[in-house]
Amino acid sequence: MYEIIAENFTPVLFRNDPFFWETGLKTAEYNGRRELSAGGFLMLNREHLYREKHPESFLEYIMADRHALHLAYGPFCDYDHHCFPFSNLLKLGLSGILARLREGRRKNTCPDRDDFYTAAEKGLNSVQKIILKFAQAAEQRKNATEDPADRTHWERIEQTALKLSQDPPGTFFEGLASLRFFYEIGNIMDGIGMSVLGSPDRQLIRLYRADLQAGRLTREEAYDLICRFMLQVDCKLDSSRPLDKQYNAGEQGDTLILGGLDEAGNPVDNELTEMFLRAHEELQLIYPKIQFRTSRRTPAELFHLVARPYLAGRNVIGLLNDEVLIPALLKNGKTPHDASGYVAGGCWEVIAEGTEHSEGANCYFSLGRAMDLTIHHDPELLKELGLDFKQPDSASSFQEFLDCCMDNVKTALKKMLETIAECGSVWPEVNPCPFFSACLDTCAETGLDYTQGGAKYSPHSVPLTGFAIWIDSLESVRKICFENREASLQEMLTAVRNNWKGFEQLRKKVLSLPHWGGGNPAVRELAGEILRELHQFITSFRNERGGPFQCGLYSYSDIVFWAKQTRATPDGRKDGDFLAQGITPSRMHHDSITSVLKDAASLPLEDFPANSVLNLNLSRNGLTEDALVALLRCWTEIKASGMLQLNCISREELEDADRNPGSHEGLIVRLYGYSARYVTLDADRRREFKERNLF
């Protein structure tokens, strides 16, 4: 497949873009799907192996997706949300990667690994051939023009391609060209989705400074290159079209990571960080998604640069908290070097760049739906899902009720995790990725594809969603039925099963109870205990690659669409009410931002290295830049989540945007790991967004 791609593609070069990357072998809108690129051929033709591995398990697993219990994207393995191992390429170049592979082969004594080495070498050779074809195409264009500016343009591409076909980049321009090229080629060759465009401030600062010192580049030229680098990403989509008419509802991946700490705990942000942020703002871009890594050492000026777009109605930056994520990665076995180099693939999927694929977004598990299935007696549905849930009706104490709920959720999790491990084990036969694996650390030494567990780390993330429903439901049963005895458990269950119809007074009582986000110590304690227990349970399983399952707290647009299938729950939620994102409190309570942050900070988030997401919608009315910066700093320092999805909006503006969309095309809101123009949102998404708590 590699050789066919290299042989048959035609390089596409642009007169007005200084970089080269386009092979014409992938559709514009998205990267991570097998049906969108030439490299997806293998997976498209072999994914039946997943089904055939265990047809009954396959069916039940898919049903769990249909019935909003957990996602089945892949279905068992996440072929999307990767980060190309840029730092290895930037350090070694293709020839260095090839040499490392050959060295690994020389040392490896297992004959069954030969296929991997052969395929990986063919992959690397093919990529070299692809780059050389770009060089040739640029040379031809150069020779065909008399225009001096044109000649310079084509010659730069030609020379850069020649260089990168062998060596690591030696200049800032070549560094940017590497990020662009390898990001695209990673998508093409193996048919897997690359979501990260790199951490350019961290990875290219040495090249930038060397260029400045040698007089090869000015700051203005670097800024211009940065603008042109990012502009390409934003051109793929027409963001003015209605979101539900856009492919993947306008989500195209493509993230760029800025800021953060190095392995010694020093901030890596530098003049490039500032330039990328400024360029993103000046060009009014939505893509690439900027994921800005904060820490207690992030300088105030950078916090201000990050805050400004929010106050301008451009909610386009994701915030990652190094104070939470680095300790979580370290606790879960990463080295300081690998942990500090983390990125967030796509929306929030934390990846130790260069060393792993973390399978961050293919099996979101809904605690909300698990609570629904526990409460609502539905043997038909449980049978379809292959689950045997205990009934909570006979619980005579809160502990018994809690045990019943926890047993059920563990039953569902166990089924999901074991199915992934069993059925996902055919991944290497479905879609081995030797080129990508060769670029990752340790696959060259082990002689194993990363789908076989050959990479340095092989985690599979298990992101939990519906956290607030789970905690608040348990708390309301504890208070109402066993502590205050305001209603029996049977009455409570009947009320919930009737979607609270005829039990409005009881629901009122439930809504006035202590809850997640309300700053209540008992609720915090319960939440912490439950997360510890779930973490312990989930991490006791091994995944399809022999690696660990690791926990996360987030989901995607499921908070909108799964909600429709999730029936009423004991927290007072009614049939179909929207779910809350990650560790965000329920929409039914209006708490202070302080209590929400304090509650969030009390969680054992170091056990959730896959990420823990908190949504905050702040009212822009009267919100100053200083106040926003103070809030960001506070969120960072008290470690209130691994990621913050922030929106600064005003109710009046949203209402005016509904009435006069033409006047609000510039209003961009953060949805579920990505941003979109508010006026392009369909009715469901608008409603979900507007129903979020506004602080």
Binding site: R15, D17, T27, A28, L36, C235, Y247, S663
Partner: protein
Amino acid sequence: MKMNLAEWMFFDTWKFLNLMQNGIQICNLGSSPGKFGFDYAGQKLHGANLASSPQSLAMDFKILRRYREFLSENAFVLIPLCPFSCIRTPYREPSHYWKYYPVLPPQEIPFYSEETHREICRFLSSLDDGHTEYPSDPLLAFDGTPGENEMKQSAQQLISGWKREFSMQDFSEKFSEDNLSAFRETAKLLHSLLDYCRNEHLRPALVLMPASHYFQDVFTPEFRRKYIDHFLEEACSGNTPVLDYWDHPDFHSDDCFLNALMLNKKGRKLLTEHVLADLAVKYPDPYHAQQEELRTYYKTISVRNTPLPFNPLKKQMTDFIEKNPALSPM
């Protein structure tokens, strides 16, 4: 002090208080022709109309400085030029400045008085009956066209008003001492305003506003040379783009106007579109060509135009597998 305050006096105040948001990419200053000249709704750039009727250039400058923080880097600042902009002096009536009390700091408000300030605050609080939308000038919503007689009449009224305001019998007569002094002062002020824009990384443009054909006997080429061209030579030495709609054919028709000088809804939209198109030429976007080229290309490989599964090399791959039975069955 007894003040006769009325809601309409504050029509222009609300937009400053209510509609200001960060990230404004284009704004305009100006008096009534500016206020009725631009409408950014539905345009690609996020815009704000900072004009107020009436508003002198001096107040334009203060408003711009006050609201600079809401403008994005490289925002466009449109400065409308009307027939008598060059000799218009600041207003001498304190009540003219009442509308700025909630908007500008005291030191920026001519004839400022604390008592007046208190009175205005009391009055505005009394209006606050919980409604979320503040009243705007009803004329802004007017999208009809006045009849010919009304247009003629309004032209005559404006001409008489200008003659009174500038103490002139005939616009072709030599400038009086007062008018000449005003001309020089205004040119100096405009010069400072343009310098300010450049220092603040804003992109200014002067806009010669369209006028209806009912002024054709007054706004002759000689008039234009004297009141516009000479003024621009004095004020901006040619380094600021001038967008000229003085005699633009698209505004020859009455159906763009609210009265002989001000644009109605349709005219406002039309002028704004013209201005945005012309700004793109005057201030070329260095990334426009790249954007256009890439967008055009990406359309061709968009999922919308591409049958899925998308694989241009499917045939070659299938052939290869057929020739290598060890790889089958898939």
